[in-house]
Symmetry: C2
Amino acid sequence: MIRLGILGYGNLGRGIECAVRHNSDMKLVAVFTRRDPASVKVRTEGVTVYSADELAAHRDEIDVLILCGGSATDLPGQTPEAVKYYNVVDSFDTHARIPEHFENVDKAAKAAGHIGIISCGWDPGMFSIARLYGNVILPDGKDYTFWGKGVSQGHSDAIRRIKGVADARQYTIPVPAALEAVRSGSDPELTTRQKHTRECFVVAEEGADLNRIENEIKTMPNYFADYDTTVHFISMEELKRDHAGLPHGGSVIRTGSSGWDNENRHTIEYSLKLDSNPEFTTQVLVAFARAAYRMNRDGVSGCKTVLDIPPILLSNMDPADIRAHLV
Amino acid sequence: MIRLGILGYGNLGRGIECAVRHNSDMKLVAVFTRRDPASVKVRTEGVTVYSADELAAHRDEIDVLILCGGSATDLPGQTPEAVKYYNVVDSFDTHARIPEHFENVDKAAKAAGHIGIISCGWDPGMFSIARLYGNVILPDGKDYTFWGKGVSQGHSDAIRRIKGVADARQYTIPVPAALEAVRSGSDPELTTRQKHTRECFVVAEEGADLNRIENEIKTMPNYFADYDTTVHFISMEELKRDHAGLPHGGSVIRTGSSGWDNENRHTIEYSLKLDSNPEFTTQVLVAFARAAYRMNRDGVSGCKTVLDIPPILLSNMDPADIRAHLV
């Protein structure tokens, strides 16, 4: 049994707990929290809750620690710190800062003789893998990534910060005509606006100025200004009834050519349709935790991304069975 | 520069030649043929043509040998033999015999200190990778593989062996309703007949009995009897004009659940749309040849499948660039 610990018991932490139930070779043994451990009620029986302050004290109990914090402020510090004591896996998803995070984790992991697999999930994660395979098979080609239809938590949060907004949910939606043009292999050049639209469901506080809120959303730089955005004002009851889930998904498409004179065209598409973004992410995290455990047992240390991991190490099946049934 | 050799100069061999043009770190240096070397005209300048009999004699000239023979009679003997002298990559695609082929190649490869990557292509190959990732992320789920629309060379050959048939082309076509049902996540149980139809374009010899030919096709065991099959008789001119290409493709779909009580559903789909089946296969083969070269240089030997290869080793890009741009 691979003994897992988790640091942070929010959406991701609870997702890990569920994912462990689908993997018979794994066991959740400990949860580390920054809250008062006595206040955290864990769903799985037999799991000990520790304070995040005692992270260093339980090295003999845990094979892999899965970091369930956020990328903005938690993981940049947590992952390099935790890898001193444990093999770790995280879902760091700030694409622009991955090289820097990699270097920080790599240095600490090598010094400790541990392995740290960063940026596991679906983007980065499975979409990174799809992009890599697409690029190597079709070196002369173009990459396209579409997200949605799904809830963007970052964009929902951005709306919630506007004065007069009680709650909000934002859906990112790929433009069907853009998807179709890419799949046809016509290699379109697409602007940000042509690829995705944004649909917002907003609960306003009583008496708030709806026109102002709508205008602040639609003109918000980076988040909405470059998109065609629709805003619907709804009641808190409707939000809770119709928009409680965290569905997401998307497609990575690589189009490119082969042949002596590029005369043949090919389209590779990897697509996801997910009822629960955090639960899918955690199903990916536990598979990479299995690989982290095995690779470290075989003497590998340092920081790794999903692209460094031989796929077969992710599976609980016997390699001979895999060759007989999945290859 | 990675120096490649190829054994066999048919559709796949010519595809390798094209694929090398798309990979700036590779060079085709030698072609081995069972024909008279003087009779083989290679398109790339500076490539030497050797007799397949001298396979053992050119070890210092070649880093990886790509085997371009067929799975029925060539590769079972060729791959274990060639791996004695070279790192090799093949596209062995008889699924049921992969475990046996693996064992044979593994023994010879380990004895020689070489690496042999078998069953590279799209199925087996990229579809194997898609099945593996799908299974590890959604352990509670179902696998579906659809092929087509595309030309099946095995089925086309089977028709050609019927008396009175001058030439033929067979298309395998997924049933749209079946694909839709799978993508919806409804986990249908599908029979062979419900998943694919077969469409045949047949050129009959003059005076041949068309009814008999059509009946022999439709009732042929394994190949056609379990499918809804359509037969069109056309002229040789039409066959050459409308059915000269070798397009193919398909989808690997994994549907499954997550959550404490399997309450959330997910669909993962990997799909291909290919103008040229052999050229796409060879684009995959050369990427795995790069990995074979690197892994053997790092001391790895034995037989490997695509599932044993860390994706990053397939790429010619600098690892830091990959982390910055593809992860």
